[in-house]
Symmetry: C2
Subunit: 289 residues, 2 copies
């Protein structure tokens, strides 16, 4: 399947959905991009700014009128199942459906169990974004040169997987095919644990008022930047991956205990080893990108 002349719907017009629509329109000028949002205002804004070609406030109504080739669900995690159920209820063709959600295990287990007859679902999780939200901050290059996880299970349609991989590659996104269980373990470590830690850091340092933070420098600000992210998106993520996150928080706590013990004893040798090893590991990460 090539993408020219295809009909693509994007459900959810926020930073992620809006930026993806722009990138797809730029790469495939002859596709028709349909934007779906409950907010008429967002649709108006998106049409006026040529972020989408057409808009609708009601996915079911839209799908009853138009057979989509690809549907991209760009909503918070908890709404994804509901959207898939809606698509399943009304789609007459067999659209390829993907999402942009940050957790995958629970969703794909549900999708596989449901065995939808008329939805070919493949999960996507692009490692792109910002702590800022909404259509006003969209960027046509948000995804360029980033990486996207794409799920594959025993029930995943080969054709749908190929199309979704192709879509990402076409807008210069490197793809990593992964099973949903492993995906959720990895993102707990690289994204959800760091997010929880940033929140806990802000919480701990502002316990007795935020006054001391008037002196915070770039180190503190960088360490806690992600704590500014949208709460409703993160409630879904933290709850839907809570098993892995709780495990990683427990590991973190153990490491904290060890460090506290080393500090209490003033064990310079162990502290030096910890600092040297850790800073060397961190320096290596940069070079992997």
């Amino acid at each position: 399947m090539t993408f020219h002349n295809k009909k693509i719907a994007i459900i959810g017009l926020g930073l992620m959905g809006g930026s993806l629509s722009l990138a797809l329109k730029k790469r495939f000028p002859r596709c028709i991009l349909y934007g779906v949002s409950r907010s008429k205002q967002k649709i108006r804004y998106a049409r006026r700014n040529r972020i989408i070609d057409k808009g609708s406030c009601d996915l079911r109504v839209l799908l009853e009128k138009v057979d989509m080739d690809i549907i991209i669900i760009a909503t918070p995690v908890r709404i994804i199942k509901k959207v898939i159920t809606d698509i399943h209820a009304v789609a007459r063709n067999k659209p390829i459906v993907t999402d942009l959600g940050s957790t995958k295990e629970e969703l794909l287990r549900w999708v596989d169990r449901s065995s939808f007859s008329n939805v070919l679902f493949v999960g996507s999780h692009p490692m792109a974004g910002s702590h800022e939200m909404g259509l006003s901050v969209i960027q046509k290059d948000l995804y360029t040169n980033t990486m996207c996880f794409v799920t594959k299970t025993s029930k995943t349609s080969r054709k749908a997987l190929r199309v979704v991989l192709n879509m990402w590659k076409n807008i210069h996104v490197r793809t990593v095919v992964i099973n949903p269980t492993r995906h959720d373990k990895i993102v707990s470590k690289i994204s959800h644990l760091p997010h929880a830690i940033a929140l806990l850091l802000v919480h701990t340092t502002t316990r007795s008022g935020a006054a001391v933070l008037r002196y915070a420098g770039s180190g503190f600000l960088d360490s806690t930047r992600i704590a500014q992210s949208d709460a409703s998106i993160w409630i879904d993520i933290l709850l839907s991956n809570k098993v892995n996150i709780i495990k990683d928080l427990a590991l973190f706590k153990n490491a904290t205990d060890t460090l506290m013990h080393v500090l209490k004893k003033g064990d310079e040798r162990k502290l030096r080893a910890f600092l040297l090893q850790t800073s060397a590991k961190r320096k290596k990460i940069k070079s992997l990108l």
Copy 2:
């Protein structure tokens, strides 16, 4: 005291000392800046690149020859006492001495107890820097528009305090006069705790190899940037402020326990409140700068 024509010595030619020397030379072209380092190579580099006017490998020898007006100690924390002792041993005039170290309580207690007859010491802690090290990354604007803590105790010379405050203001650094005990409590929260947390985050996520981190995005990288900092500088900082850091790590652990409990129970209401409050607090911090 004005700064024109003064003799200023900077002990330690790294990022902090080198950048300060450049800023002072730019602001006070008629001062003479003396750089002191054990490394002849660094002195050669600093002279060749006009970072300093004159250099010496031996502070005692230099002070036997030249009466400094101001001496700035830009070494790791643990060496500061040794440098002050050296100055005390050979200075014939009564130079004003300051430092750039990140902890102050232990140092100032020692200074006040020592009652040096020929050293007027005032502690400085500029909230500027980088995780990168050395003369090759110095910037003449490293300090511009940043903030610097300056210590005041019952024994601090008024004159020396005035001169040190003046020096910082002249290179566009906002100063905050503070007592050393309160200083160390504050920087534990805004700098040392975040540093320890960044190290623990890298440590926890790389326990079973660094492989997963090939997928890390900008969130992870920002959260852990400071973990790359120089180990020897941070051993000194963490050990010299360990009482406050251990207290803050304990608070952090308590908050972690609470979050783990909320996640385990799937308590959406509490999780939402935590996320909303914390992200609102973090957003406020930016606006204080």
